[in-house]
């Protein structure tokens, strides 16, 4: 939505400042960015409506969300499989009307809820990204085991998270209220490798 008087507050306001931290290396072993520009909506197919839903999706969204814990999409929007017939839809840098638009497009074949403010997502890259994340993520992050576009909903050091691989980075979405504790863990885990926040 347009945002004339109200100022949106980034979830990490006051918590993080861009730059290098941890061990001093010429190149940071871990590169972290906070993705504040994502619009997120949860989408769940209505009972018995799967076929119609697929048809509608391919017609209006020009892609059919894949089943299973994988990421599928159409370039400007993607769908993360978080359960049977359930996805988190993501769109970058929209106008705040994402969920409403999806709801309109998919009604009455799917239940849509806006989650844009519910999650904060991080992108973690660099040579030591895997070793950093291994300190809390109970997933085999080896490329063969967790490939590009794989998705997992899991528990990261006592914090629920949605994890996926996109453009050679690991993306982790956590609920907004946890973001302080999550950042505390992530930054501490990355420190030994030398890290940079962009």
């Amino acid at each position: 939505m347009a945002d004339p008087v109200m100022r949106a507050t980034p979830a990490l306001a006051g918590l993080v400042k861009p730059g290098r931290f941890g061990a001093v290396r010429d190149a940071p072993g871990v590169r972290i960015s906070v993705r504040d520009d994502l619009e997120i909506a949860s989408v769940a197919v209505r009972a018995g409506a799967r076929d119609a839903f697929d048809a509608r999706a391919s017609a209006l969204l020009s892609f059919i969300p894949k089943d299973g814990p994988v990421r599928s999409g159409n370039g400007n929007m993607s769908a993360l499989g978080i359960g049977p017939g359930r996805w988190l839809f993501l769109r970058r840098g929209g106008q705040g009307d994402f969920a409403a638009g999806l709801a309109a497009d998919l009604a009455p074949l799917a239940s849509v809820s806006d989650q844009s403010d519910g999650y904060v997502s991080f992108a973690v890259g660099g040579d030591c990204a895997r070793r950093t994340l291994a300190k809390g993520m109970p997933l085999d992050l080896h490329p063969a085991a967790f490939a590009e576009d794989d998705v997992a909903v899991t528990l990261v050091t006592h914090i629920g998270a949605v994890v996926w691989r996109e453009d050679e980075q690991f993306h982790i979405a956590v609920f907004r209220s946890y973001v302080g504790s999550f950042w505390h863990w992530l930054s501490a885990s990355a420190a030994e490798f030398g890290a940079g926040l962009v």
Binding site: P69, G83, R86, P138, A152, V153, T154, L155, G160
Partner: protein, 85 residues
Amino acid sequence: MRIVCPFCGERDGEEFATIGGAAGPRPDPNAPDALALFHAYVHLRDNPAGPHAEHWYHAQGCRRWLAVTRNTVTHEILSVVLVRP
């Protein structure tokens, strides 16, 4: 314990919550002996040493309820399916 969630794949038992034995279908509340039926349904358990039918909830994953058959002596998991496909 490692549980293979039909949706998420293999995960540590830590991600799941179980409420114990999977009691049969919920009794008919209008049955004449509904009280006795519900008492048994809610309170009485088989609790066998060996294969055991259980309900597990993938609380930290896909949030589906799973019907699991698990050996309570070896902890070996014999089968896992979504309760509601």
